[in-house]
Symmetry: C2
């Protein structure tokens, strides 16, 4: 049984197997070492994620994931009084929901590597243009999300990770270190370009590698083809595949 | 428990989660509907694949995959008397190995959708340039593989699929329908460009959709976020998540 990593989150997770996506890159990096399962739910908030917890991470599982990324907050940080108001989750509740998720995952497996990822920054200019496209003239003149408010949620996420001593990736800060992050990393002011996906991939690999899940150090499931003796191929499989 | 598709094959399967890869595209298409597991083994032939069968597809599994792609032959068709001779598997044995794989998968699950994929065509000119790069002046002047021989293996693969009444994708023929296939679909005369990956993806989706595994018709695992009543989010989860 190969170790499993679960990517649990909203659309930024759901879209992570598109060309250049961070989920696909992780799968490639951990090829022959771990299975990457995507559990991304477009539009979901941390509040709605709670309804999925027992289904995706049953406490009775004999083979829980060895690592899980938890990537919510981009929708929670939607502002009240705008089109996306139905997704808004107050900051305190967002933090409490993350605590519930972390507690559940720890109950599921005390050794699971848990990685909380903050929402990415917001490019308000693009967010507004994007809102104008489906809603036309009726579009509100105000953005659905602001970078400042999303930053407060990002800090909340990092605080929860610290409370529990689990890992976190502060994507909101990390991305803003690079000049031109607005267009370089964001495709519509919120979702990620391939370069933005690359940042998530690199940061997640850094956390996994810094723990006990460095891909080069993990054993491959079966012998490399050059280890196979063409005259006696059974030998290396008998020696190595004792599963 | 979500249905699983397994991609079983050689390097063309192992590399299928690189940017634009066919495995990643399948994962994206079947997001929230099926899990795609990659079991690709660089350099492997159908002969060596037999050693993995019972490990990857244990007969005792209570949840066998609902679909499996079997994608060997590119290495089997390596010519004798060249650098890659150790990978050469005679045609008759290749066909017999495919039969053993299909029989095993059917024993694993009589309802499993099995898709045999033929090796892609070979661009001999690029294969030779590629061989020259690691071996320098010592490189043989003759190609490791020829398109003609690989075509014979591709036919063998299609014949085995017909014998068992399982699906097949004749990649060798399909790709050569397009002018300029040599550079358009192949990156080194053998492995696939993103466009080549696209052909595999489209052909596999065609087979899956033509059977009972059309992504748009398969149920999503959880409600779409617009189905959630923000005032009473529990309702739709109670109604729908009866797992």
């Amino acid at each position: 049984m190969r170790p499993q990593f679960v990517l649990f989150g909203d659309s930024i997770t759901e879209l992570s197997f598109k060309s250049g996506g961070w989920g696909a890159s992780l799968t490639d990096t951990y090829s022959r070492k771990a299975d990457i399962l995507v559990r991304g739910y477009d539009g979901y908030t941390s509040r709605w994620a709670l309804f999925l917890l027992h289904h995706i991470f049953p406490l009775t599982s004999s083979t829980p994931p060895v690592a899980t990324t938890v990537f919510f907050g981009a929708n929670d940080a939607a502002l009240t009084g705008r089109y996306s108001e139905r997704q808004h989750v107050p900051l305190d509740e967002y933090k409490e929901n993350l605590r519930k998720i972390v507690r559940h995952l720890k109950e599921c497996s005390p050794t699971m590597l848990i990685v909380l990822i903050t929402p990415p920054p917001i490019d308000e200019e693009w967010q507004q243009q994007y809102a104008a496209s489906p809603h036309g003239e009726k579009a509100m003149k105000l953005p659905e999300r602001t970078n400042e408010v999303t930053g407060i949620y990002a800090n909340g996420c990092v605080e929860v990770a610290k409370e529990f001593g689990v890992s976190s990736v502060n994507l909101w800060s990390k991305m803003q270190e690079i000049q031109g992050w607005q267009k370089k990393f964001l495709s519509d002011g919120l979702h990620l370009t391939p370069e933005g996906n690359r940042v998530v991939y690199e940061e997640v690999v850094k956390v996994l590698s810094g723990a006990w899940l460095s891909a080069p150090e993990m054993p491959a499931d079966f012998p490399h083809h050059l280890e196979i003796d063409p005259e006696n191929p059974a030998k290396v499989f008998q020696e190595r595949c004792l599963l």
